[in-house]
């Protein structure tokens, strides 16, 4: 179980998380939705210990990552996680099979002679065949995401964290990735947190959806409840509307003359 309480994080001059309280029960898939820059990826990085929160605690099976200081303890904590990065983050200098089995050397005691066979199995799980010797630069965006997924599950983690798994993919490939997430959930029986702003993906893969807005959790409910909610903030986000309580600037800067002109027109 992952339990976050009062998680706060600020970058110089910019608060990102202002007190996030979230829980992911064993076996569930929690989708975190929210606009760009709302802090959902930062939260995911706090969970795996890549970013240290300024305040609050994040407990995973009773271990609080915010209290761990020794590198060995943090590495041991991270062992239970698989992490899918937004841009796949495959190692350019290694082949596909070396990428998939990279973590096995450090996370498991499996002999190196078995790595290639394991890579083949994991790649088959994500629907890839005969790509073991290719380089990441030879793969399409969707294939890179699948290889990254195979790498994330290679050491058989208890928790899988997905950072924008469908971003940058076409709608069909996005759906394929969603199906893969569901399949892996059934096969591996893991607990997952999926950070996304793709509502179709969130509805499909999640057993619960939480929305983060301005660094706080605005709502947390089942996909069915989120679909029919009357909360104006959640409604605006899930319907993808530019007008509503969530204010998005059209431009960061508008010339004064234009602004004045608009003002005059409004006065008339």
């Amino acid at each position: 179980m992952i339990e976050a309480t009062g998680v706060k994080k600020a970058y110089p001059g910019r608060p990102v998380l202002r007190g996030v309280d979230l829980m992911a029960q064993d076996g569930e898939t929690l989708a975190i939705i929210g606009g760009s820059g709302c802090g959902k990826s930062t939260f995911l990085k706090c969970v795996i210990g890549l970013v240290r929160p300024d305040e609050g605690c994040i407990k995973v099976d009773g271990t609080d990552i915010t209290q761990l200081t020794r590198e060995a303890d943090i590495a041991k904590y991270r062992r239970r996680f698989g992490y899918l990065f937004q841009e796949a983050a495959l190692f350019d200098s290694l082949s596909v099979w070396e990428n998939v089995t990279f973590g096995l050397r450090y996370l498991t005691n499996i002999p190196a002679s078995r790595y290639r066979a394991i890579a083949k199995d994991k790649l088959a799980l994500v629907g890839l065949k005969d790509v073991e010797d290719m380089r990441p630069s030879e793969l399409s965006g969707g294939m890179k995401k699948r290889v990254a997924l195979a790498r994330a599950i290679a050491a058989e983690p208890t928790y899988i964290l997905y950072d924008e798994p469908t971003t940058g993919l076409d709608p069909i490939m996005s759906d394929v990735i969603n199906d893969l997430i569901l399949d892996l959930q059934k096969v591996l029986k893991t607990t997952a947190i999926v950070v996304t702003h793709d509502m179709k993906s969130a509805y499909k893969v999640a057993s619960r959806i939480a929305m983060i807005h301005e660094g706080r959790v605005l709502a947390s409910a089942s996909p069915e409840t989120i679909k029919t909610t009357n909360d104006p903030y959640v409604r605006q986000f899930v319907d993808g509307l530019s007008h509503g309580p969530i204010k998005m600037k059209l431009k960061d800067f508008e010339p004064e003359t234009v602004a004045a002109g608009v003002g005059k027109a409004g006065a008339r």
Partner: protein, 268 residues
């Protein structure tokens, strides 16, 4: 009023800059300490070390050899001309060329060329890994960028730079001989006896020991600039430039102090 605001702003800017520099120094020191700790704690990735030795050594060898060959030629030409001017014949050309090359020019010029060639490549590679989240991926896969990326590069530099410098010593002295024999008409036996009548092992060691200091400077600065890159492609460019400029300046500045120390302990 404006004046006091201006002064406050200058003081603020100065303070911010001083804070940034001291933070960088602290993080650099932490990287060096962390490298030493990982070397003692975990097995060294010898395959990575070998890869880096090949990349740094083999790719830099032609350019360092050519550079020092021509430097030796210029030295012989200048020495011969000066000697002719004062003594009416070219005296001690072999002595001047060999002492200058072995004690100073070969180590420094090799270090400068390698920092421009391999140091830049390291900063660009690690910088790209940082902005594409590959460094974060290393953490999630159970290892540490210091262990997997920094240590192999530092060790490779420490092993390769002395070898490149010894080759550069010979290349420079050979360049000097070409000019001495062809242009100045000095017999080969005279050129060689000019060298070996005066040079002792401590003169060679003076230049050779410097290369370990230079290797440490270039490798740590390049790795540090790479793994602290921020800001996408533009950031990678800035880090690469900073790595080269800082490495070259540090080599030239620290060369003075190393020379002074070696002279003080009699290795000169």
């Amino acid at each position: 009023m404006n004046g006091s605001w201006g002064k406050a702003s200058v003081v603020e800017d100065f303070g911010r800059e001083a804070m940034a520099i001291s933070e960088s120094v602290g993080r650099f020191t932490f990287l060096v300490r962390s490298t030493a700790a990982w070397m003692l704690r975990a097995p060294i990735e010898w395959r990575q070390v070998l890869n880096q030795m090949l990349r740094i050594g083999v790719e830099s060898l032609p350019v360092t050899t050519m550079t020092t060959f021509f430097t030796g030629m210029v030295l012989a030409l200048q020495t011969g001309a000066s000697s002719k001017h004062f003594f009416n014949e070219p005296l001690f050309v072999g002595t001047v060329v060999s002492f200058a090359m072995v004690m100073e020019l070969a180590p420094v010029m090799t270090a400068l060329v390698v920092s421009g060639r391999a140091g830049a490549a390291i900063a660009a590679e690690l910088g790209t890994m940082k902005v594409t989240e590959q460094i974060d991926a290393l953490y999630t896969l159970g290892t540490d960028p210091v262990r997997y990326l920094v240590i192999p590069r530092v060790l490779a530099f420490l092993m390769v730079l002395p070898i490149l410098t010894v080759v550069a010593d010979f290349s420079g002295v050979f360049g000097g001989w070409v000019v001495a024999y062809v242009k100045l008409g000095i017999p080969t036996s005279v050129y060689i006896s000019d060298i070996f009548d005066n040079m002792e092992i401590r003169h060679f060691m003076h230049g050779f020991l410097k290369t370990f200091v230079f290797a440490s400077i270039i490798s740590f600065i390049s790795c540090f600039k790479g793994i602290t890159t921020t800001g996408g492609a533009e950031g990678v460019g800035k880090s690469t430039t900073a790595a080269v400029v800082l490495s070259m300046a540090s080599v030239l500045i620290i060369d003075y102090f190393v020379t002074a120390i070696l002279s003080a302990v009699g290795i000169t």
